[in-house]
Symmetry: C2
Subunit: 194 residues, 2 copies
């Protein structure tokens, strides 16, 4: 999707060979009109899949997931990294390691909101090593729900998350595919192909 | 706003005299169409305030804030409860105690995205003791930004957050006002007035 690439080119900052900072429009500040366009793109990519629920992970996944849910007309469920007084019973959980936060956390989803009859679209901001997506996939399997696919706003194709998911037969749709990061520079798949 | 009251009556669960569970449409699962209506309501309430930015707190504030930002056409900034590799420098911070999570946390906002020229609308899911709102207000003051007001989806008027904020001269707009909770029952301000 040209739009995401252009946004990254205009506002993204490659901090080193691994970390892309997109704080200005996705991970800290959010551009709602841009997120709505992302929702439109995911809705189009997964059109006809009879999706009944979107599953994401707090916090940066919420904005693109909610916009996709608005377009598709389905509820959005966000996995939580901590339990609270209102989220304690009947939990489906998975362990997820975050490389940017350098810590492992247990993500939890209430079994009440994820049913065997659900057809789930998993949405996340980044797909890199695939830890978050694999955790959410595991939770869907625990619930017995069908997974229609995974939508990532930005995929780092030089990390192996996308490959691992596609090898499992999961449909993965990424709106921008980054082949390499160098300090101050971002390379996209389409550019490499050209 | 009748819509929020009706949603709480249909799906909310008063766990005890303090905690209202609205996991089915706001704090865990999100109803995007309902959130869009909330965005419309906040945009209407703060119409003409020349808002340039919306500030909220991860995670449950993100959905109503992003929808309000979509309607008003302004960026949304969400305060983070943890720093990460991409959020470390030039931070504005405040201490916030969460009664539902029973822990204190430091919320941080990058100074880069909050300017002296900004007119800020603070949006949050709940207004109870006002800890989160006061923390966000403090961060706006550190940035020298003007605060147009605070929009809460649900206010527990039997706790003193709303009073404290209004006493400071802050415009507070709550879409549903709860006067009391009893296990299994929720009482609203309008019902008491009637």
């Amino acid at each position: 999707m040209k739009l995401v690439e252009e946004k990254i080119k205009a506002e993204g900052k490659a901090l080193d060979s691994q970390v892309l900072k997109v704080d200005s429009f996705m991970n800290h500040q959010v551009d709602p009109k841009f997120m709505k366009q992302i929702g439109d793109a995911f809705a189009k990519a997964f059109h006809g899949k009879r999706i009944t629920k979107i599953l994401t992970l707090e916090s940066s996944g919420i904005a693109p997931a909610v916009m996709t849910g608005l377009v598709l007309g389905v509820p959005v469920l966000f996995g939580r990294k901590k339990t609270s007084l209102t989220l304690q019973n009947g939990l489906l959980s998975a362990e997820v390691y975050s490389f940017t936060k350098q810590e492992s956390s247990t993500i939890s989803v209430s079994a009440e909101y994820l049913q065997q009859t659900d057809v789930v679209l998993i949405i996340d901001d980044f797909l890199a090593n695939g830890q978050a997506a694999l955790g959410l996939l595991d939770i869907c399997r625990q619930a017995g729900a069908e997974v229609a696919g995974i939508g990532a706003v930005i995929e780092k194709v030089f990390q192996d998350g996308g490959r691992k998911l596609r090898e499992q037969g999961v449909m993965v749709e990424s709106l921008a595919k980054i082949t390499a990061l160098e300090e101050g520079e971002v390379f996209f798949e389409e550019e490499v192909k050209a």
